[in-house]
């Protein structure tokens, strides 16, 4: 058994790209991944929906096969509804993925991190946490100080749409001791938002080289690093994709293609993308429904 356990957390962000990417991972690799449990969704906008499935889960006559929806195959006797926050895992329990279907209620990001995410990391004894995010041109807290405008210049032309940053949690105690000073916060006079470039080390071709203290990933990292009982965690990896809001299903596929860089598990190589049926008429090249213009995410 591998000694590394990775927890993937998609943030609610521009174009819902992390949620769509999570859908693609889970449904494309549904032979390996399955539902584990519902997580506490008190801090999220309420949501209850049907169990999602792919067209491949259907039999020839259009009805669902005997063991479908695939992702929930071990819980079909008791689980009829999907909830706002669900945990999935692969067969050998080395990769856990959270699917979050609604945003966190305004003001409760810190409570959500401290009371839902940190206990989950501890329970799973995760060694790596991978945070998926996305940002757009109008996203002033996530695209600091002209990062988008300088997309090419900042990286000498060799840029990627995906920014990848790593926070090495080698010594939690040292980090806590130095946390206030090593943050090296800087104020952007235009937006009055603080930025730090010392928490995550970004790859050289990342358009983003810093994160702001208003971002959810900063709060997550702050609370995780300040949790004294976090003994197993070694690394927090942050990946943020630059997108334009619209039909972002292709962006989600692009993000999935970078998974081998983000998660150290061979199972996450997707050969053929499978989309859930909830995307039909909402994302991709299908016809647009007349009465509903949104997908399963609100």
């Amino acid at each position: 058994m591998s000694s590394s356990i990775t927890l993937v957390l998609p943030l609610i962000s521009t174009g819902n790209v992390p949620q769509l990417a999570t859908d693609l991972i889970l449904h494309s690799l549904s032979a390996d991944f399955s539902f584990v449990q519902d997580l506490d969704s008190t801090y999220l906008h309420p949501f209850v929906g049907p169990l999602d499935y792919t067209i491949d889960d259907l039999q020839g006559n259009g009805s669902l096969g005997p063991d479908t929806p695939q992702l929930y195959r071990d819980h079909l006797a008791t689980k009829k509804f999907s909830s706002a926050l669900e945990l999935f895992a692969n067969k050998d329990k080395t990769v856990y993925i959270v699917q979050q279907r609604t945003p966190i209620v305004q003001g409760y990001i810190n409570s959500f991190t401290m009371e839902v995410i940190i206990p989950l990391i501890q329970e799973l004894q995760a060694t790596n946490v991978t945070v998926l995010d996305s940002y757009g041109t109008l996203d002033d807290i996530a695209a600091p100080r002209g990062a988008v405008a300088e997309l090419g210049a900042a990286t000498g032309g060799n840029f990627s749409n995906l920014s990848i940053g790593v926070c090495q949690v080698k010594s939690i105690a040292d980090m806590i001791e130095n946390f206030q000073t090593v943050l090296n916060l800087q104020l952007d006079p235009d937006s009055a938002v603080h930025y730090t470039n010392s928490l995550f080390t970004f790859s050289s071709n990342s358009p983003l080289q810093e994160i702001s203290t208003s971002q959810q990933v900063f709060k997550m990292a702050y609370h995780i690093l300040n949790c004294p009982s976090m003994t197993t965690l070694k690394e927090i990896k942050y990946a943020s994709l630059f997108v334009h809001e619209g039909d972002n299903s292709v962006d989600a596929m692009l993000l999935c293609e970078h998974l081998p860089q983000l998660i150290d598990a061979p199972v996450l190589k997707i050969e053929k993308f499978k989309t859930p049926v909830s995307w039909k008429g909402v994302y991709g090249l299908n016809s647009v429904p007349s009465t509903m213009d949104e997908g399963i995410y609100i």
Binding site: H45, I296, I298
Partner: protein
């Protein structure tokens, strides 16, 4: 005459409209959950039927046949500490004058100005028919009531009620294609349909905690939470459902139907084409 403003900002779709409780986005402080207080001396163990519903469904229960009596209030309150309040005050002093620019529209900030220290949501508990049937009507409004309040109310009700209690949820959603019946073992929703708001939170709590005796009847509506509009077909489906559920009370179906339609029109819940010739 009010011209449509040309520079309407299109909100990103991952942002949901909800009251801003903590204006400081950089805060690292955990915010406490609202607390729910139930009326003292109320025996929840005796409750046989419970109908936690959205306020738009009140016409179904606000008629002579129910013999409704108010038994108390569920009070949900959130105390914001001084640092949060002072940040709120700073923020509001720099607030752009919404009313000056859009005099005919509702200013979401105007409510938070009145009481920045304590936010309270009061829900009446009404007893119907003297038969231990409770109606808890939730006055949701996406501009005024944060979903955290309805979430904690749903959680509290789940802890107060027995898992065998008969629970009837009647509501509406603008994210479904047709009328849906749900229960612990039956979900008739089809992707990408879903239910949100108090109704969604309540179903989620009941399902997760294996309440075996709940039934949900959800019709299609239009409009955001707190401003729903129902079609004539949806109203009739709701009325038929309630007449069927309450068949033992010998409801005069015609009078009940007429009364419900009238009350929905008075509540402004009827779609505009059904509200008469004159505006």
């Amino acid at each position: 005459m009010l011209f449509k403003h040309w520079n309407e900002f299109v909100e990103p779709r991952h942002h949901l409209d909800a009251p801003v409780m903590v204006p400081n986005q950089e805060s690292l402080q955990a915010l406490p959950l609202p607390t729910v207080t139930v009326p003292a001396g109320f025996d929840w163990g005796k409750v046989r039927d419970c109908d936690p519903d959205h306020k738009i469904m009140n016409p179904l229960f606000n008629t002579s046949h129910t013999h409704a009596m108010t038994r108390g209030e569920l009070v949900t309150s959130l105390q914001l500490n001084e640092s949060v309040v002072s940040q709120a005050a700073t923020e509001l002093s720099q607030h752009w004058d919404y009313r000056e620019n859009f005099p005919n529209e509702f200013d979401p900030a105007s409510d938070t100005r009145e009481d920045t220290k304590s936010i309270v949501l009061r829900l009446p508990i009404v007893e119907l028919n003297g038969m231990n049937t409770l109606l808890i009507s939730v006055d949701e409004n996406f501009l005024k009531v944060s979903p955290i309040f309805t979430n904690v109310v749903a959680r509290k009700l789940r802890t107060l009620l027995n898992t065998q209690t008969k629970i009837l949820l009647v509501g509406s959603s603008d994210k479904i294609y047709s009328t849906k019946m749900v229960s612990l073992n039956e979900c008739t929703l089809q992707p990408p349909e879903f239910i949100t708001g108090f109704l969604g939170g309540m179903i989620d709590e009941l399902v997760k905690n294996r309440f075996s005796n709940f039934k949900g009847f959800i019709v299609q509506s239009e409009g955001p939470t707190g401003f729903e509009k129902l079609s004539l077909e949806s109203m009739d489906e709701l009325i038929d459902f309630i007449i069927d559920e309450w068949s033992s009370y010998n409801i005069n179906a015609d009078a009940f139907r007429e009364n419900c339609h009238k009350l929905w029109k008075l509540d402004g819940a009827a779609m505009s084409a059904q509200s008469g010739l004159y505006i």
